[in-house]
Symmetry: C2
DNA sequence: CACGCTTGATTGAATATTCAACAAAATTCC
DNA sequence: GGAATTTTGTTGAATATTCAATCAAGCGTG
């Protein structure tokens, strides 16, 4: 049996601060987006990724991957977005199993409006309240974390 | 109408890295805790907070507050933890509306085991993959963010 | 004291997410 | 070529979370 390696006091404090802060921030961003535009962060993320893809469309599997969602979850969520007319599904010629999720014109217009408010909130509660150097540190750190998580799978 | 203030390229990249990394990390921690001990992070957090409270118990409202959960959610979650025998509810003498959530002996023992594995995972995917200075930066930043979110309510 | 107002906590229905099972098409391998 | 396997995507049931309504108790004020 191996001895558990606990965090030291400072590490513990920083880790806890992160857990609490990130939960509260996520909660705020969700509420903000939901109250102003009826979207969750997960839905917003899907729209953003589609908007940036060539022809504003992506295969479901790839979209699930870059939006960090399970395929099942994406399937359900895209169905909801489809009902709202923001996304459309069309099947992919090359691979007959494949399905493209495509951002509609309405979806793009809707996203453009939502993005303005969302970015303002991200500024107000994230970018503008932290030191620029600390923001860089966060960027570095979470890139490394994402890599590590990806490596483990 | 005010001009939207977009993020510059670097801010954008760092913000996105954070969103992606934090979602992936949260997902991994949840899966890890769930597969090894049948707990979600939210449930784990509740147990931790109770374990640190005097007499290992807290009023529901206070627990909801420090665990960053809605009261409704806490109510449901505590019911589940109660079914598992990890937490008990007892009513508070002073304020007849009040309810204490208390960590049981079983709950404490259970948490002790779970914590060993959880901390190891936090090390493997968070603490040990980032620069110590960056960890400090994260601590500072998310403390400021949590304050800002709290201020806004 | 009694009226309105706030706080503490729970409930059930609506909504969202996970999980396991499935079907269909593509790929691998002999 | 064709059986076995993998990949893609969806589905429905089980589970969890949100949301709005409710109830009971405390508090403040005229």
């Amino acid at each position: 049996m191996t001895e558990p390696r606990w965090l030291d006091a400072v590490q513990q404090r920083d880790w806890r601060a992160y857990v609490e802060g990130s939960v509260r921030l996520a909660d705020l961003l969700d509420r903000d987006l939901k109250s102003k535009h009826g979207l969750t962060m997960a839905e917003y993320e899907i729209l953003v990724r589609l908007s940036e893809a060539p022809e504003r469309r992506l295969r479901m599997a790839e979209l699930a991957d870059i939006a960090s969602q399970s395929r099942s979850r994406l399937s359900h969520t895209v169905s909801r977005l489809e009902c709202k007319g923001l996304v459309a599904r069309n099947n992919c010629g090359a691979d007959k199993r494949g399905v493209f999720a495509e951002l509609t014109e309405d979806g793009f217009a809707f996203l453009s409006k939502a993005a303005v408010d969302h970015v303002a909130t991200v500024r107000d509660f994230f970018v503008d309240v932290i030191d620029p150097d600390d923001l860089r540190a966060i960027g570095r750190a979470f890139t490394a974390i994402a890599d590590q998580v990806a490596k483990a799978r």
